[in-house]
Amino acid sequence: MNDTGEAQPAHEAEASSQAPRRWWARWRAGARRAPQAPRGRWQAVARKELADHLGSVRFVVLLLLVLAAATATVLSGADALRQATGQDGPIPAFLRLYTVGGERLPSFVGLITFVLPLLGIAFGFDAVNAERSQRTLPRLLAQPMYRDDVIIGKFVAGLITVAVVLGALVLLTGGLGIFSLGIAPAASDVGRLVAWWAVSVVYVAVWLALALLCSVVVRRPATSALVPLAVWLVLSLFGTLLAGLVADVLAPREGGPTAAIENVETQQAVSRIAPSTLYGQASSALLNPQVRTFGVVLPRQTDRAVPGELPFDQSLLLVWPHLTVLVGLVVVLFAIAAGVFLRQEVRA
């Protein structure tokens, strides 16, 4: 859970203030008794789960699938960019490689937005109930650790797995892009990509936490995979529709242009409950510097405005609320999962 981006700089600052000597000492101490570094039990659980994930058929299949799809999207995106060069204003920025789709394929970001929930669900849906069906749970819980250690370890292992896959994908496609386009990324592009990666990991964490919750509550792994998948389908297919319905009730469209604007704004606010909407907006703002706002923009507001690009820090500011809500969703879902798990009978 330290992967949220903001925790890392703080940690590094703390470490760098006190001499590299201590680091060196710790490293040497670690090297002498290398395998003896268990700081807590959840690390042991996470380590085992991570090894399980990385060696599983599930992982290999998903990795190959996503790898092939991502490569295809980036190559076709690069193709489309090359053809559009010159017609489309200034030189295309490096990041457009990820956001521009080809003729038949979606953009890289579009694909990843679609795939991330699946990855989150895939590495979490059988976390606890598989232990039950394998009858390993009583033995595991009888070891000297708290129950939180089990669920935290499983959550972290799932998250690390997806984070590593995603990081590898971004690097790989970036390399391909540099090759095929011949544009090197600017520093701010790299910053935006890292930020996008971090937000994506948080987005995966939402689905992972949901899948984990299902694996605690639902006994059968097949059922516990279906529940989060159903949630994902409903949100992505009918999310806008449902938001529209709710908005019509809360702020009826009748009564002039003000009411209409209010209706649209309510609809937007409601749809931001869905993690997919939040993530979609956040990733578009992070990867496309031209995105300035998510709200309703009237023609008179853009009158005579000079089209320009937001600096990285301003884009970051724009998605800060989204990130906060996503983190909040993760915390709430995970807390529910952990709470239910703590109160469950071992022999249920």
Binding site: R33, Q36, V45, K48, P138, Q143, P144, M145, R347
Partner: protein, 346 residues
């Protein structure tokens, strides 16, 4: 947390040598109104093998879970190695090895890897852990199969791996729930020998089983569980003696006639009835004293042939069956409820 534990540990380290390893007082567990464990009070000393004997659903497993702090008691107190399992769960689980009923392992990992994971959870790492794992694998006779996946193990091998798993943490108390269920006679003997070895090393063993024979031959003391309560406890001899007082039952086989009239008017005999389990010619005689000689003489006088004469209650078998039949007679509805509740939870 660890600081608190060590302090608590230091406080109890002295008396721990003399006080029992396991002590419960009025331990009770209720699930949705049904009492699964009913005011259980028991003490088990170091190096003792205590048998929990009872049918399925008698509350054995629930009692074990309470000892490990995996389920909270509704009432009463538990002390394991001087610690309260509910409040000092880690201290207890560091000292208590638990082999659950029908133990499972991660089938995609090898036996060695499974033990390695348990070792890491018990803060054993590196060479220390490897040495200990090898030692235990040798002890349970799994060294050759150590590097094949658990999915290929037989039930008996899995059970032995379970025992190695329990011993990794070098426990003071070992709790074995049905350790011989579903394994062949040779495997059973091996497991029971391991239990005896452990006890000889000073480990307290709690052996839950519904198989009388094993409990009888392995355990120093036995507690008989019926419907959530411990109806009797003690050594095999004590239990038999306890039942023998006041009333004894004799199985009598008679050829050539009905002994009811002949035996019925003896002063010590209170009842003579046909033995439904024994078939024709078998009778069950209830008497105030063990007066087998007089009965044999009386039958001979009346010209009846004596084909069988055995006192019931000498064997733990009878003790066991007697308790169960008494329970089903007197508390049919009650035990039925707890059984149901128990199956639902399973």
């Amino acid at each position: 947390m660890s600081e608190v534990e060590t302090r608590a540990g230091a406080a109890t380290a002295g008396p721990a040598a003399t006080t029992p390893r396991i002590a419960t007082d009025g331990l009770t567990k209720r699930y949705e109104g049904a009492t699964v464990v009913d005011t259980l009070s028991v003490e088990v000393a170091a190096g003792e093998v205590f048998g929990l004997l009872g049918p399925n659903g008698a509350g054995k497993t629930t009692t074990i879970l309470m000892l490990l702090g995996l389920t909270e008691p509704s009432a009463g107190t538990v002390r394991v190695c001087g610690f309260d399992p509910t409040r000092q769960a880690l201290a207890v689980r560091r000292r208590v090895g638990y082999l659950p009923d029908d133990v499972g392992f991660y089938s995609t990992l090898t036996g060695r890897q499974n033990l390695g994971f348990t070792a890491r959870l018990n803060r054993l790492n590196g060479e220390t852990a490897q040495r200990r794992i090898d030692e235990l694998l040798t002890r349970v006779g799994l060294l050759e199969a150590a590097d094949s996946r658990v999915a290929t193990y037989s039930k008996g091998m899995r059970q032995r791996l379970g025992i190695a798993d329990v011993l990794i943490k070098d426990p003071e108390v070992v709790v074995l729930d049905e350790p011989t269920a579903g394994i062949d006679p040779r495997g059973t003997v091996e497991v029971l020998e391991l239990v005896e070895d452990l006890a000889a090393e000073g480990v307290t063993v709690l052996l839950a089983s519904h198989l009388l024979q094993q409990v009888q031959q392995t355990c120093h003391r036995i507690g008989i569980f019926v419907g959530g309560g411990m109806v009797a406890s003690g050594t095999v001899d004590e239990l038999a003696a306890e039942l023998g007082t006041g009333r004894i039952e004799l199985e009598v086989g008679v050829a050539g006639g009905d002994p009811q009239a002949v035996l019925g008017d003896m002063a010590t005999v209170t009842a003579v009835e046909p033995d439904p389990a024994g078939g024709p010619g078998r009778w069950r005689v209830t008497a105030r004293r063990d007066d087998r000689a007089a009965i044999a003489g009386r039958l001979a006088e009346a010209g009846l042939g004596l084909t069988h004469l055995r006192r019931r209650g000498d064997d733990l078998d009878d003790v066991y069956l007697r308790y169960f039949s008494a329970e089903t007679d007197s508390a049919e509805t009650d035990s039925g409820q707890t059984d149901d509740a128990d199956t639902q939870r399973r």
